[in-house]
Symmetry: C2
Subunit: 218 residues, 2 copies
DNA sequence: ATTAATAATTAGACAAGACTAAAAAATTAT
DNA sequence: ATAATTTTTTAGTCTTGTCTAATTATTAAT
């Protein structure tokens, strides 16, 4: 079994791991976990001894197969709990993260299997992020940022890149929800804002908003 | 906020606290938490500094108002989670304890309020133990051990004293459930076993079993 | 190709929470 | 009342995970 701290490091490396080959840097991990680089160095050594990461001094770190499986399991738990909180306990999508950060460390195989079933085997969490299956596999959905769409293109809003309270509450205020149909009507050259039609309403959104909404093209 | 360890100590003191005046002894706490007396001494000092317990060296320990409230809140969470696991996630009553030991430390006011509501504001957990309310108050139900009943007396089985897997599984095997109507038909002087009629079945139970079943007299 | 800047690692310290062994206090037995 | 036993506390050590400060390696700039 692994400590909460070890699990948090593995998860951070999992999230920071790029599709390219390069290892995740010490400072990126430190930044993500809001800790110091020296602490990260220490922990990486420990994870390396336990064969959870591949580590070559000064050249960053990569998860081993085993490390990746543990990380994916923590992410799976985090996202399943988020679904539970929203679907069953009336949490809003901007309230779930902190509680899920705690719940993701609960150790019980049966609990997660039963919860998964109780929730109807959801495939994505309230923010549109995919839920890894028991073997750590993610279903990859073709998606792109709204800011990449050209005038006239349309699709469905299926996720958020930033899931900060501020952004999520902005979306609530504008009544923008996952599942909404979106079409790009025009793009302003001057301020790089976008005119969109969403669920039959017209609105103008800033560059920053468009850069944080994931769209499934149609 | 308090650490898991601090919460576990407070809970142990809460459970060991007798209605009489005497403080809870160091060794009883050590025994309950499966730790050493020296560790208990250290922690008691810490809890005393934080005004969570009243402590006089060599004379045991008592919870302060604040300490009692925290302990009751942990017990509340433990028991509400047990109800959740049994009522919603198909756990049996002998499977819930270890997971509840973890879940009881999750910190979120909203979570527990919503869970309480989701479960329909249960008053007792799957073992018949009362669930403290938000202010730490327990509703006291008049109950006595089956071993205290005299020939001819009857009542309803409302709880278990021992909630070990072994005992709970024994009850399952004998199909003895909380809520069952029980009447004492006879008591054997020789082995101190009891003949009972339960839910219209007749059976003989040992002294030890009778000493671990709570009955509400009628 | 050196030098300057940045990033990563090591060294040393600290807090929480546990342990063993030793000392001190309280309780029980004679 | 004194001695023996049990319980509790203290002293000192260890592990985990963190930090600051100093050192070393890598990368960027001249
Ligand atoms: Mn989250
Ligand atoms: Mn999420
Ligand atoms: Mn329990
Ligand atoms: Mn219980």
């Amino acid at each position: 079994m692994f400590s909460q701290s070890e699990e948090n490091y593995l998860k951070a490396i999992y999230h920071l791991g790029n599709p390219s080959q390069k290892g995740v840097s010490t400072s990126d991990i430190a930044n993500k976990l809001d800790t110091k680089a020296s602490s990260v160095s220490d922990m990486i050594k420990k994870l390396s001894d336990k064969k959870l990461v591949e580590y070559k001094k000064y050249y960053g770190v990569n998860l081993t197969k085993k490390g990746k499986l543990i990380a994916a399991s923590v992410v799976r738990k985090h996202r399943l709990w988020e679904v539970f909180l929203v679907d069953k306990l009336n949490f809003t999508w901007d309230e779930v993260h902190d509680v899920a950060e705690q719940l993701e460390h609960i150790k019980s195989k049966k609990l997660m299997e039963e919860l998964d079933s109780f929730l109807g085997f959801p495939k994505t969490d309230p923010h549109g992020d995919p839920i890894p299956d028991k073997d750590g596999n993610l279903q990859t959905i073709e998606k792109t940022l709204l800011s990449n769409l050209k005038k006239g293109e349309s699709g469905i809003c299926i996720g958020v890149k930033d899931s900060s309270s501020d952004f999520l509450q902005y979306l609530d205020k504008q009544n923008i929800k996952l599942g909404d149909q979106i079409k790009v009507m025009d793009k302003e050259a001057f301020d790089e804002s976008t005119h969109i039609q969403i669920a039959n309403r017209n609105m103008n959104i800033s560059k920053k908003i468009a850069a944080n909404l994931y769209i499934q093209l149609q």
